[in-house]
Amino acid sequence: MVRWLLSRSTTNKHEQGWRVIQFQEVTKTFGTRTAVNKVSFGIEKPQMVGVIGRSGAGKSTLLRMINRLTPATTGRILFNDHDILRLKGGMMRRWQRDCAMVFQQFNLVPRLDVVTNVMLGRLNGHGTLKSLFNVFSKDDVNAALSALDRLGIAQEAPKRAEELSGGQQQRVAIARALMQDPHMILADEPIASLDPMNAKIVMDALREIHDRDNKIVICNLHTLDTARNYCDRVIGMRDGFIVFDGKPEELTTSAAREIYGADESFNEAATSTAIDAGQTGSPESVGAMTPAAAAAV
């Protein structure tokens, strides 16, 4: 029903652009601490958005509020003019399927095999009885396998999720997200527990999904070079406020210092995860999506 509502308003919007997500003064407080403070911004076209900021800046809370894993305290989040913060029960779960989430720790079911883990992305469309007896259709299996194939790990399908490496598990998680056939993908620190090679594979996969399927991808990142290399737009958060919102080219060292609240000693290369960071003393020549071209400012 939500899908029907959303798609109807989508057609209305179609002339002006695309699906729109709009934050209006969204606030989240945990006790006395304000994690996200009256945040307002909009994503009008299918962009790949990187959210950066130090730990505790409110990045995760921001993403989790969209998916409704964390309830917002006040404010509205509009998707095609519907306040998704007010959805309840089945409508809310339907919305959760529409904005797939990818987590830092993958959040797969370790003891289930990979293909089942991917098919779980479709649980929302399944009746209770059918899903309780582990009944998945041939169509589900096919879709899961093609999602895995797209991420290059179809051969791992019969293995248990826990037997896979971190990078492979994250790709399974992305395949599960694809299986949901979502409007957008929210990735909460997707590469924070991966080595640089796997981080590149996972970021490439997210970028590819954005490029090919034209989906909104919002990605919390903790390294500036990744944000610059992969994102069309960077949002910087500090203490619950948005302190930067612009193109990756505009993200200068001074802007980064502002976001991280750092002083003159702030050196990006020190924390960079790009493989050739530190070797290339190249200035910010980031335009292409080549992740290896790191920026060591």
Binding site: Q96, N107, P110, G121
Partner: protein, 282 residues
């Protein structure tokens, strides 16, 4: 000088303590001795005479069993159906109680997103179910429903639901929340999250506790025969009640019961070892 005085004091203190201990010991012995003679007077027979008879009955049983010769094994076979009945009571009761326990556990653990207000209610419910021993519930139910295996089965299942529910709920407390969160984010309902994020994690431990409970319930079901619930316990009460003459039958039942329980214990500890090993390996 001061040290010498202190030494004197400590020594006399120790002496006094030893004296008190001796008096206390004598008092206890006196009470025991007088109690023995008192209770011995009230007994129909004397304690010492009874003590010698203590070994008479088992001796008789063994002798009678020996005299029965090869027919003894026939007796064991004859009691097989009664043993099976007891196993049936235990099996069905553990299955029903276990299924009930899963439901109770899922409704009473915050870690698996049980509905908040229900949690304390279900927990107290399980406490009550656990508090009544099978024997008490069975006595009550046999009075209401009559002598048959059904009341015994209900009694054991009731107690099992409470006991296993508590253990299952503790297993739930210790699971990893991340898969649950992952499925929440996909829009899965609570039942779907339980089925796919909780059950795969808890299944080995549940099964292990379930087998342990099966062992316990086989013993409990055998005892319930004494209050008229059928099965091997009832046969045992009959043969013991007859005393002399039925010694071979009593021995056969003892052997059968002993072998069965040992077999089930060994089997379940083997299976549980494998289950726990399997969950540890990953």
């Amino acid at each position: 000088m001061a040290v010498a005085a202190l030494e004197q004091e400590i020594l006399s203190l120790r002496k006094r303590r030893q004296l008190y201990s001796l008096i206390g010991l004598l008092l206890v012995v006196a009470v025991l001795a007088s109690g023995y003679s008192k209770s011995n007077e009230m007994n129909s027979g004397g304690f010492l005479q009874g003590l010698s008879k203590f070994f008479d009955y088992p001796g008789e049983i063994v002798v009678e069993a020996w005299e029965a010769g090869p027919a003894f094994f026939g007796l064991i076979v004859r009691f097989m159906p009664a043993m099976l009945e007891t196993l049936n009571i235990a099996g069905v009761a553990t299955l029903l109680g276990g299924a009930m326990a899963v439901i109770l556990a899922m409704a009473s653990t915050r870690n698996v997103d049980s509905w908040g207000p229900l949690i304390p209610v279900v927990r107290r419910m399980m406490d009550i179910m656990r508090a009544f021993p099978e024997l008490i519930i069975a006595l009550f139910l046999i009075f209401v429903l009559g002598s048959s295996p059904v009341p015994a089965m209900i009694a054991v299942a009731f107690h099992t639901a409470g006991a296993l529910g508590k253990l299952f709920s503790e297993v739930n407390e210790n699971i990893d929340r991340k898969p649950i969160e992952g499925l929440s984010a996909c829009g899965a309902s609570w039942l779907q999250r339980i089925r796919y994020a909780v059950m795969p994690q808890v299944a080995p431990n549940y099964l292990s506790y379930f087998l342990l409970r099966l062992e316990i319930n086989v013993r409990a079901s055998a005892i319930l025969g004494f209050v008229g619930a059928g099965g091997i316990g009832q046969e045992l009460r009959r043969t013991i009640g007859w005393g002399k003459g039925a010694g071979d039958e009593t021995a056969a039942i003892f052997v059968l019961l002993f072998l069965t329980i040992m077999l089930i214990d060994q089997l379940s500890s083997y299976l549980r070892g494998k289950l726990v090993g399997a969950s540890r390996a990953h």
